[in-house]
């Protein structure tokens, strides 16, 4: 599947396209199929996201969205060495899938 990610313009926080807007939680990401470029152009122009891009991802056995590349998996939860600073979703999903 193909999902979209970027950073919030004001806060810089990592965000994920959920079909209607940008979520802080990777599990909210939706498959955009062939619409990636159109959504990226529209959302960046509207300043709802900064430096967005499309990435490959998969759905794991439990139904969670998991970015294919290690860099985006680290982005999804936060620094592995400061788990106290992680986005809240980490409490639900654990960290095993990141590395």
């Amino acid at each position: 599947m193909k999902i979209l990610t970027g950073n919030d313009l004001r806060s810089g926080a990592v965000t994920w396209w959920n079909g209607n807007g940008w979520s802080l939680f990777v599990d909210d990401a939706v498959d955009v199929g062939d619409d990636a470029e159109e959504i990226l152009a529209r959302e960046e122009a509207a300043r709802r996201v900064n430096v967005p891009y499309a990435i490959e991802a998969r759905i794991d056995a439990a139904g969670n969205v998991r970015p294919a590349h290690i860099k985006d998996r680290v982005r999804a939860l936060g620094p592995t060495v400061r788990r106290d600073l992680a986005v809240p979703t980490a409490n639900k999903t654990g960290w095993d899938w990141v590395i």
Binding site: S11, G12, N50, V74, R75, L85
Partner: protein, 559 residues
């Protein structure tokens, strides 16, 4: 230390307001990210993995207590309560909001600091020997020359768009504590027949193509220092490659031309520039130098400089019979450096607790260090390129009280220059360029050696870890170096041995195929096993490696 004059302050204040307007226009959509990116980078604002990151310049690593407190306040008010001290003696904040960035720059300006030229293809923060002005072995205090070069290079219109970034280090001792020859230009201030001048090295660097800078001029008179630097930069600016980012650093130009031809061109340009007259008057250097006069008690040190503290001397520090915790003696032995005044030392504050994140300090720790600098070190402190902090002028008699305060704040690790004193870049935990994580390796290695008690047995061993080929963790210069790479989507780590960034500079060589995370930690242990089994009396790890070569280590790792 240097104090801003009206021109310095006016320039920095004007830049803050300029950036405030640029950020506002970006937030209002009047600038695109492509238009804004070079503007924010000129003010040290990156977009990293998790958020914006602000890199603040700390000129030649020197701070006063008020400045350190301001850095602590910024961490608390705008970030998440901590900062990360870097291998270029700067500090980085990892969780900055764009809407706060101009306010942060304004707060910095109030304490004579900024983030200008901490990014971009310009002359970056000038680094220097962290023991400058204090070291017993110093020939000339390099700070006035570093400050002169800071002023010359700040907003230099000709060098704002160089082919690539440009890093300068200045030292004033035979001992190199600033990786001087691994800089684009390395300058050693020297004294010849009583005359002070500068040795120039050019074309060094780490990154994907590490090179050791060759000597290009053995003595540049002080009244030609800036002119010569200008000539070095002009030749590079004109002929450095702009067609290929990976070949754009000055080291490639010097290498491709050859040191002799590069030098010839610099000398030709130098002769021309002398006729133009760009050198500031020596009175300006004298004005700057006056800011670096030592505190009164240190000005007349007497006929002999300090020597390394011995266990016997440490036992007699402070009040006779005074009870003290056992950790003090190890700390005083490992973490102090001889001072020009025999009754003083420079005291290293480790930001490397076993299992900790190299270079990170909380706001509270920064405030503790500021307070201690005020109380014990004439209001002065330093950031070391090894990602530690330093109080440059501490009375030996004050060491027990200082150590107790540091230890209470989690800053008393006695591990300077040991295998626990690991340089590690932010790596894949924070950096958008990284391929692998550096910090967890540093944490696990330091924890393991501390727990087994082998740190002290191994002695001096400089381990440096980079999470990508850009080498911010100086892995090329590690006695043991580790480079993280991406191997089919998995972290993989190349091990290298034999590097040094000191006066015995050398580049580390790769041992062979890489390892996974557990494997590289085991490999570091095996390498130290070989060292311990084969070292001769008094040999450091690096000495043993140079004597026996790579083969015994390879045999242990892959045999």
């Amino acid at each position: 230390m240097y104090k801003y004059d009206q021109y310095d302050q006016a320039m920095v204040d004007a830049r803050v307001e300029e950036f405030r307007d640029q950020a506002r226009r970006r937030l209002e959509g009047k600038l695109t990210e492509d238009q804004f990116k070079p503007l924010r980078l000129m003010n040290g604002l990156y977009l990293q993995l998790h958020a914006y990151m602000l890199r603040v310049a700390i000129p030649y690593g020197t701070l006063n207590a008020r400045q350190m407190e301001a850095l602590a306040d910024i961490a608390e008010k705008y970030d998440r309560g901590y900062g990360h001290f870097t291998t270029r003696q700067n500090i980085q904040y990892n969780w900055i909001k764009l809407e706060d960035a101009a306010d942060i720059l304004a707060d910095l300006s109030k304490v004579e600091m900024h983030a200008i030229q901490t990014s971009g293809n310009c002359i970056r923060n000038i680094s220097a020997d962290h023991f400058a002005g204090a070291a017993a072995d110093e020939v000339v205090d390099p700070r006035p020359y570093a400050e002169l070069m800071r002023q010359w290079s700040s907003f230099h219109p000709e060098f704002t768009y160089l082919p690539r970034k440009f890093k300068i280090a200045v030292i004033g001792s035979e001992t190199d504590r600033a990786a001087m020859r691994l800089h684009d230009i390395g300058i050693r201030i020297v004294k010849r027949d009583g005359e002070v001048g500068a040795q120039f090295y050019a074309g060094g660097g780490m990154g994907r193509t590490p090179m050791i800078a060759p000597l290009i001029r053995d003595f540049v008179p002080l009244d030609q220092l800036i002119t010569y630097a200008e000539a070095c930069l002009r030749v590079y600016n004109r002929y450095g490659r702009r067609d290929n980012k990976y070949k754009a650093r000055i080291k490639i130009l010097v290498h491709e031309l050859g040191a002799a031809e590069y030098t010839r061109q610099v000398e030709e340009e130098f002769a021309h520039m002398l006729s133009v007259g760009v050198e500031p008057p020596l009175e300006e250097l004298a004005r700057i130098a006056a800011h670096f006069e030592l505190p009164e008690p240190l000005r007349r040190p007497g006929p002999r400089a300090g020597t390394p503290l011995t266990p016997e001397r440490i036992k007699n520090i402070g009040v006779p019979g005074q009870a003290r915790d056992g950790g003090f003696e190890a700390w005083a032995l490992n973490n102090t450096h001889p001072h020009r005044h025999p009754d003083y030392v420079s005291a290293v504050i480790s930001l490397k607790p076993a299992g900790g994140i190299p270079g990170d300090a909380t706001s509270e720790q920064m405030r503790v260090v500021a307070k201690l600098a005020r109380h014990y070190s004439f209001d002065e402190l330093r950031v070391m390129h090894t990602q530690n902090l330093l109080l440059p002028h501490v009375a030996i008699a004050d060491l027990p009280a200082l150590w107790q305060a540091l230890d209470a704040a989690g800053l008393g690790s006695p591990n300077m220059d040991t295998i626990e004193d690991i340089i590690a870049c932010p790596g894949l935990d924070y950096c958008s360029l990284a391929n692998a994580r550096s910090i967890p390796l540093a944490q696990r290695i330091s924890e393991r050696f501390a727990a087994s008690g082998r740190t002290e047995v191994v002695g001096e061993l400089k381990l440096k870890i980079s999470g990508c080929i850009n080498a911010c963790g100086h892995h090329h210069a590690g006695h043991i170096g580790i480079l993280g790479v991406d191997k089919k989507g998995k972290e993989n780590f190349q091990l290298s041995l034999g590097g040094s960034e000191a006066e015995d500079v050398s580049l580390a060589k790769i041992t062979g195929p890489g390892f996974d995370e557990d494997g590289v930690i085991a490999a570091v242990e095996k390498v130290t096993d070989v060292y311990l089994a084969t070292r001769a009396d008094g040999e450091r790890f690096l000495d043993t490696y140079r004597r026996i070569g790579m083969e015994p280590f390879k045999e242990a790792l892959y045999g």
